[in-house]
Symmetry: C2
Subunit: 373 residues, 2 copies
C-alpha cells in the first residue's frame, strides 16, 4: 500500500473564525486517503489521530519506506477498516506540525513562523477544519468516524457538532473531558517545555530548539500511556547493558534508557509549540460544558450516530468509568450504543497495539452499520 | 511543643565506607527529639522521613513558628506516637539538604560543596548513619521504627540490617522495591533537573540554581502522590481566578495553579542535587536482591521485629499488592505481622494526612508491643 500525503488549503480569502474569536487563514490540511470513494459517496471513513500522530495512518510512502503508518495493523485490504470496502481519510489536525497549519507554519502577516502568535485552537476548531476537507472531497455524510484518545475526542465532537454527517462513531480510550489528573500531567509537560531556555517564549524557529524540555514532556506523556503491569512486563527492574548498579547518576535500568530514547526520538519529529497547543486543546475539551450547558446527557441529545465505545482495563489516563459515563449519556438519549471494556495490560496505548478483540469489534460494528443493523 | 534541631557528627577520623565503596567523612546528622528516654532506654521510637521531609517531625521551633513539623498530627502528647510515653527521634537522611551531610555540604578535600563528587548513597547507608546516631544517644534497642514511603523503605532496611535492634516496625505506604513505573517517574524528574542549564553538572552552588528544572521535578512527584479521585475532589475542572477559559498558554485550571505553586514553594527549601541522590537511592532499594539473594522470603528470614504494614487503597505509586508481598514474605517466616489496607482517597500522600484509622492503628499497635503482646 503506497500512499501519498496531499494538501488542501482553504480560508484563503475569508479566514476561519476560531472558537477563541481569532481569525486564521489560509488554513492548510495535510491528509492521506486509502481505498476508493464509491459512486454514492457513502463509504467514507474518517480516522482521527491522537496527540503525536499524523495523517499517515497506514501504508508506506514508497516501496523502500521502512515503517508503515501508525495504525497499519487496523487499516488496509481485508483488515478491520477494510480499504477494499471503505474510502479511508486521515488528516493532520490544525495546531499540529505534520503538514497542517500550526504554530510552526508561516504567519502570512509577518512572513515568519507563528510561534505563540498562533491562536489557541480547540477540538471544535480541528473538527471544523476537517469538515472543510470532507466537503472538499465531495462527501456529504461519513460512514464512520473513528479515533482513540485525542482522536476519540474529535469523534465525539464530530457526532455532536455535525450529527447529520456522522452515520456511526467509534470513540476509543477517550473521555468527555480531562480529569484534574490528566490536566496535571499536561501542565507539567508544558512547564518542562517552557522551562527550557531554548524555548524563547515560543520564538525558537531558525535557532536552537527546546529539545531537552520537549524530551521531558514526551517522557511524562509516555509514562501515562503505559500501565504499571505493562511496564513490569516490559522492563521490571532489569538493568541496561550492565550486571551491577552503576552508583552514578546515570542510566541503570532499562526503563530509564527506554524513556530517554523515546524522548530523543520524539524531538526529531515533533514541534514543541505544537505540543503546547494540542495539549491545551485536549484540556479545554469538555462535552458537558461545550455541548450540554453543564449536562452530559443534554449534550448527547444532539447526536444521531450509532456508537461503539471502547475502553481498556489498564488505561489509567482515561479510565473505564469515563467511557461508561459517555455510554450512559448516550443511552439516556435512546441512542444505539455498544460498549466494550477490553481486558488489556498495555494501558492507554492499547488501542494502538495489535489486539484481536479490538479489530474484530471494529470490523463487526462497521459491517452492522453497512447492513443497516 | 518547642523543639530544637541538633547535630551529631561522626566518622571524623575514620570515614564511613559506603555501599558503593566510596568513603564519606566526617558525616553530620541533623536530628530532633521529643519526649524523654526512660531509665531502661527501652522507649525510643525512630521516625523516618520521606523524600522531601526532614528531622522536623513535630512541634515548632519557637512560639512564633507558624508551621509545625511534617507529622505533627501523629506525634505529640497524647497522640498516636505519644511523646509522654516515648522518646521520639527523627533525623535528616544523609544525601539530604536539611542539615545532614549531602551534596550541598562542604567537601573537606576541596573546601567547596560536593556537588556530584558526593558519592551515591543507598537506603542502607542512610540507615547505617542513623544507627550511629542511635548508638550515640545511648539506645541499644528501638521500641519501634516508623515511616512512610521512602521512610518505610528505611523501616524495612532497619528490620533486616539490625534485627536485634528493632523491637517493632511500621512500614507505611511503601514497597520492597520500586516498580518500573516508580523508577520511570523518578527518572523523568531527574531528567527535568539535569535539563536545566543552571544545573551545570551539579556544580551550581554560589550561582543561579536549577529552580525551573527542580520545580518540574517536584510537580511530577506531586502528581504521583495524589490520586485521580483526590484530584477530582480537590480541583475537578474548576478554573483559577476566572470565569472563562483564557485561550492562552497560561493557567486556566486550579490544578495547574496548585502545581505551579507546589513547584515554586519546593525550590525555596530543597536542593536539586539532593533530589537526584535521594530518588536514586529509592530506585536502587531492593529488599529481594540486597537481603535475600533474589528471594523476598529469604530476605525476611533475618527479621525479628513485630510488624504493622499499612497500605492505602488509592496509592498508585506503591499499590497495595506491593505491601501484600511484604506481608506474605513476613508470614512465611513466621513473623508476627498485622496488615491493614486503609480505605483512603488521598493517594500515596494519605499517610501524611489526618486519618483516624491510621492513628488508632499505630496507637493500638504500639500499646500491644509495650504490653509484650
Amino acid at each position: 500500500m503506497i500512499v501519498e500525503k496531499q494538501f488542501f488549503t482553504f480560508a484563503r480569502n475569508k479566514p476561519m473564525v476560531l472558537e477563541c474569536g481569532a481569525r486564521l487563514g489560509p488554513v492548510t490540511i495535510a491528509y492521506e486517503t486509502l481505498g476508493s470513494l464509491d459512486e454514492e459517496r457513502k463509504n467514507a471513513i474518517l480516522v482521527l489521530h491522537a496527540l503525536s500522530g499524523d495523517s499517515h495512518m497506514a501504508g508506506r510512502y514508497s516501496e523502500r519506506d521502512p515503517k508503515p503508518g501508525w495504525w497499519d495493523i487496523m487499516i488496509g485490504p481485508g483488515k478491520a477498516i477494510d480499504t477494499d470496502r471503505y474510502f479511508v481519510v486521515c488528516s493532520n489536525i490544525i495546531g499540529g506540525c505534520m503538514g497542517s497549519t500550526g504554530p510552526s507554519s508561516t504567519n502570512p502577516s509577518t512572513r515568519r513562523p507563528y510561534g505563540l502568535d498562533f491562536p489557541v485552537v480547540t477540538i471544535g476548531d480541528m473538527v471544523r477544519a476537517q469538515k472543510a476537507l470532507i466537503k472538499h472531497l465531495g462527501i456529504e455524510r461519513l460512514f464512520a468516524v473513528i479515533g482513540g484518545s485525542l482522536g476519540g475526542m474529535q469523534v465525539l465532537e464530530w457526532s455532536l457538532r455535525y450529527p447529520g454527517m456522522v452515520r456511526s462513531a467509534i470513540p476509543l480510550a477517550t473521555t468527555a473531558r480531562h480529569s484534574a489528573l490528566a490536566i496535571a500531567f499536561n501542565e507539567v509537560a508544558r512547564q518542562a517545555i517552557m522551562a527550557d531556555p531554548n524555548w524563547q517564549g515560543g520564538n525558537y524557529y531558525g535557532g536552537a530548539r527546546p529539545n531537552l524540555g520537549l524530551a521531558v514532556a514526551r517522557m511524562i506523556g509516555h509514562i501515562t500511556y503505559l500501565s504499571d503491569e505493562a511496564m513490569r512486563r516490559k522492563f521490571g527492574r532489569r538493568l541496561q547493558d550492565r550486571t551491577d548498579l552503576s552508583f552514578k547518576l546515570d542510566v541503570d535500568f532499562q526503563v530509564e534508557s527506554y524513556l530517554r530514547y523515546q524522548g530523543k526520538k520524539f524531538v526529531d519529529r515533533f514541534d514543541a509549540n505544537s505540543f503546547l497547543y494540542i495539549t491545551k486543546a485536549a484540556d479545554y475539551f469538555d462535552v458537558e460544558e461545550q455541548h450540554g450547558g453543564g449536562s452530559i446527557v443534554k449534550a448527547f441529545s444532539k447526536a444521531r450516530a450509532k456508537f461503539l465505545v471502547v475502553s481498556f482495563t489498564s488505561d489509567w489516563l482515561y479510565p473505564t468509568y469515563q467511557s461508561r459515563e459517555l455510554v450512559q449519556a448516550m443511552k439516556k438519549n435512546g441512542l444505539d450504543v455498544s460498549f466494550c471494556e477490553i481486558e488489556a495490560d498495555w494501558g492507554h496505548d492499547a488501542f494502538l497495539l495489535p489486539n484481536e478483540r479490538l479489530s474484530s469489534l471494529i470490523k463487526g460494528f462497521l459491517e452492522c452499520v453497512g447492513r443497516g443493523l
